[in-house]
């Protein structure tokens, strides 16, 4: 693990480590995974040095093993996230995230006239391209591309 030399956030016994999150998107990841509403212990660091990302964040969530479908929701904001599943202080599985075929919520439709920008409702997109991301709104059919992607 890259951070072993200088461990900023201590090891967990059981749970999930999410590494290589772009620092500026940390709070989006927290919201998407609902970490602000869980009871389990969470430790994290941000603005940590990363050659690849400039500044990265890492989150360690004790005793929670997320479903892949939930983890993939963070792919829009943390496409390079690396996950380690920890049991008894050992990494038992490594995962990466992949952009799902459809996205519900999370992103904003870039069409200012889209109904989702005027009513209290959840956005919904088909993913028409994964890298860079292009999302086709199911309400107005307009494409929201990576450059205009705004996280709710």
């Amino acid at each position: 693990m890259e951070d072993k030399k200088e461990l900023k956030v201590s090891a967990i016994k059981n749970g999930t480590v999410i590494d290589h999150i772009p620092s500026q998107n940390l709070f989006s990841v927290i919201n998407i995974l609902g970490l602000n509403h869980i009871k389990q212990q969470v430790t994290l660091g941000f603005n940590l040095e990363s050659k690849k990302l400039g500044k990265k964040a890492i989150i360690k969530v004790a005793d929670i093993f997320f479903k892949d479908a939930d983890l993939n929701k963070i792919s829009l904001v943390a496409p390079d996230a690396k996950l380690n599943i920890i049991k008894d202080y050992s990494v038992v599985e490594k995962k990466v995230v992949s952009v799902p075929d459809e996205i519900s919520g999370i992103a904003k439709c870039m069409n200012p006239k889209c109904i989702t920008n005027h009513e209290q409702m959840t956005t919904s997109f088909d993913v028409v391209h994964k890298s860079p991301v292009a999302l086709k709104c199911r309400y107005c059919d307009k494409i929201t591309d990576q450059e205009h992607l705004e996280i709710i």
Copy 2:
């Protein structure tokens, strides 16, 4: 330090440690101090065991030494916060927070008819009682008490 036995978030060389934050108010503290916009390294833990608070959070901010006036802003959401100022890995000063005499922003006026709940504007209160807190709105003169205190 209470967390020395089992250090969840590693020591910092220089900076500020904010301990004994109620876990449910961690993100309010982060917003109030603007930690989501700084470049310095931040490590934190939440849902950590605390005899006093049930679940507590701790934040360690490298290389930042906050002004007392800024620290006191968190008193509404973390009245029992204990601060350690760290230099060269040693605690050089300990601080507690105290409720200031006036509050700008941070809290919502509990009067639904108050102009601050209808226009895009910053709330402003005189603190008429500190524990429990009672805030007198400078716009509508209504008192927002501890029980009805809502953080923006």
